[in-house]
Symmetry: D2
Subunit: 297 residues, 4 copies
């Protein structure tokens, strides 16, 4: 398949490489051109404008946030203006349900297909084609993308015809992960201040009731205070919790635990933690307990 | 071994049966005598006073809360007055760290051994000898209990010489479970109000990042609104969160997520939910979102 | 002075009448034309377009929210396009600091003056010219408006050259009022459930430490459950807390009490309370305590 | 009247002096005897045991907390054992509703009168006889104390026959004050980080909607970061919020704002702020916003 791929960041670079390896014809575009070099060496065409990347039958976007995707999609030089009718735009970024709805409407107006297909998984999972993909859009459009999804991830979940549903599921999933981080942070602060060995405690938890990678991985980061380099930066964590709260606001669903998380991320960023892994909010539970300092290493 | 066993509630009855089946000589006591009948039929001696149950080399207590255990342990007719020196009291109930410390001191003064060994697992796990046991006390005392623990659970974790450490770990574990309930409740309220199928959503979560029984089991209870009969009653959930907060207060560890949970349990009980399963706090996230009624079925 | 006045809602109508009574030449505009009739009868000119209202030396806008003001200010038929250079736009609405900054930049580009002058006071205070006015903008521009402010309110506070500062102060003030409501709601729920007379309790509070109109007025509304008609609607309360949180987000200031308030307003609206007075969030503290029903009268 | 007075701390010393000045016959007792010297010089009898202080027709207790009052009231050397029948014990301390109920029952059993009469006011108000007194107990018992109350305070509120009601009102009042502190702290953190002058802002607030001493006094402490010497220590603030939450727990009234306050006080104490004025919780809102350090001056 001929695939346009826009966004070669830590996630997108690995995903694009997997599509290329699977034999697809790839036209890649990145705002900062240098990122495309290694893909070019392996046969990808490098587009110098968004318009060129729109020559694909499918155009995948994998960018950092709403602003980045809006800038790519709308306007005279944008994706909606340049894609052919019947072209399918697959947005795999974590974006707001509000932008997802706007994109849906704009693509319908342009007689194009729109699929929202955000993913669960960190950069290593993207590189290993082990992502979980949450897809929503018309059945036909999602079916057309299925060969691509099978090259990118280990499993795809179909969420129905409304693209925004996939985005909401992604946001809610990140909310659940951040909730795990906060709950572990509080429990570890309590345990640690009582003088109990945190490593033994975590081993106990994750070999019994909390035998899941999300507890093992984030628990280890917190116990070891290993917040750099960031697998997923705190600034992005704040963004996603903010979007989950915005969805709750639009739907009139109070989310008190998400509110707590938002305040944690804001405090972390106010204290200079923007580039740390998002699990660094655990520092706040510890510093509130008089253990260590939130803003320092 | 000769074992006194005090407390034949939903947990204790199954545990006592397992000890009996393993060949131990059992002297059982329950405040309400009728509960001992089926154990008696299988060979247990039935004590009519706490003092009689204290003839064991080890006396296990498995009761509902601090008040129940205080009533059994202290006073002229109590366990501390009647156990022989060198007898080991194994408290398997979920109690406060403050009571655990008081019991430790009292047993030391009476030249008795004290082991705190609270468990993770619901009544079905107790009956199936699949509990996880968290034990703390002197190494010698815990070692002496090991044959019993291996008949009661699938694994024992040793937390060190300070009995209260085991109680704190147990409380923190229940806090973590309640945090899972609250986070799922909020996510499901959001997803449900957006019109996304909650069952499909839960299947997605639990076959990807949240592939753990605690998410599967509580998620299903929430989605199906199956809050009766209670596996673990909301009133007990409130008790345990209250004890976790009391431990945080004593150690000066703020626990904002536990505070949120406390308020949830209080609201559920204020609305008549005392006897529902503790996962029924999920009703509150739903009713706050205008979905269903907290107080009704 | 010749004054354009846009927005004749419950606040604006009284304010415009006061300017008219003080002898100013008034050109009024309202999206729904009927609202201007009584002002017209007293000598106001009625504009049929925003452009006509822009003939004033000063143009005051007093509308419901960001969207309304954006619609009036920007675009081909808007205020910025039609005001003369040197005309002063006085925005008295409660709006976001982000919109305030955008308006500041747009007016500078058009060589116009911009003053943000939000007010404290309910419609009765607007009608009685008893508002408190919080003004920010260049000293010269605010000075030019002073004669108008003295006809509209009992006192003006000058917050400096940056218009957004006035908007932030207004938002923070509404946050403080909502905090009073929530704290009274919780205290009254506690007192009431203990069987203590709520009226006597409120009288005690407001004749001792809390001897201020904000406690007396909101306390009475809560005790009497007098939530209709709304002096200030819950939907507007949510809007203002949302804007305060957005300001906190932009400045990286966690506001946990504002987060709690946001969740209260969302729950109230989810249960159909959109048009009630914003003090109706007090119902939630009561219903969480099992006292009355949040959604009913 | 012959009055026993137990507890000569910062509040009690001033109160006892006022009773002495008004001509009452005073028998004072303090755990640390030195505190009685200046009262003795002015004619007070100094008791060397609690029993001696119980010779009064009325015995007033004014001590730090539940433990102190329990120690004085119960046991062989205590107040209940030594007061004559018909003697009236007036507890003016801030204590739990649970202890108030226990004292009520014990005094009834001993045919003594019990009045709970906690006060609002700091040590300067105690010295100036400007306290507000919240009294509950049988009408006859409270009436008998009225001459004393009029020497101690500016106004007495009668809360009915149930002593615990007065204690609950006192606790709820302190909760309301702490809520004012937290709301001001968040607003000032926001305003300050936006670069707006905090003093001007506070002047604006307290000359308009928040024209009450509680806003003026605590606002000034926060703006000036004047947390020493403590008018009311943070450790006592935590105690009172804890008691308010305990009352809410007993009555099943969730108090989310009180939960937030509890976590603030715990964090302040964890960071060494025990002896600071309770308004020092405002440091936490500031440090969470990256402004200053919670633990330092």
């Amino acid at each position: 398949m001929r695939v346009g791929f826009i966004g070669l960041g830590r996630m997108g670079a690995g995903m694009a490489a997997n599509l290329l390896a699977a034999g697809h014809e790839l036209i890649v575009y990145n705002r900062t051109p240098g990122k495309a070099a290694s893909l070019s060496a392996r046969g990808a065409q490098v587009a110098s404008t968004i318009a060129e990347a729109c020559r694909g039958d499918v155009v995948i976007t994998m960018v950092a946030n709403d602003d980045a995707l809006s800038g790519i999609a709308f306007g005279g030089g944008g994706l909606i203006a340049h894609c052919r009718p019947e072209c399918t735009h697959v947005s795999m970024s974590t974006i707001s349900i509000e932008l997802s709805a706007r994109l849906t409407a704009a693509h319908v107006a342009a007689q194009q297909q729109f699929v929202a297909a955000p993913v669960f998984g960190r950069p290593d999972a993207a590189a290993a084609a082990k992502l979980f993909i949450v897809a929503a859009g018309t059945r036909a459009a999602v079916d057309r993308c299925e060969p691509l999804f099978s090259n990118l991830g280990q499993r795809t979940f179909y969420l129905g015809a409304e693209p925004a549903a996939a985005n909401l599921v992604k946001l809610s999933g990140n909310f659940l992960i951040a909730s795990v981080i906060e709950s572990l942070a509080e429990a570890l602060a309590l345990i640690g201040k009582a003088g109990i060995d945190q490593r033994a405690y975590l081993e106990l938890l994750t070999s019994t009731l909390f035998n899941a990678p999300v507890y093992r991985n984030y628990g280890a980061l917190i116990v070891e205070q290993q917040y750099e380099p960031a697998g997923f930066a705190a600034a992005l964590g704040l963004k996603d919790i903010r979007l989950a709260l915005a969805a709750g606001d639009a739907l009139r669903v109070p989310l008190p635990l998400a509110s707590l998380l938002r305040d944690r991320f804001l405090a972390l960023l106010a204290q200079g933690g923007e580039a740390l892994d998002w699990s660094a909010i655990a520092r706040l539970a510890a510093s509130d307990a008089g253990q260590g300092r939130a803003g320092s290493q």
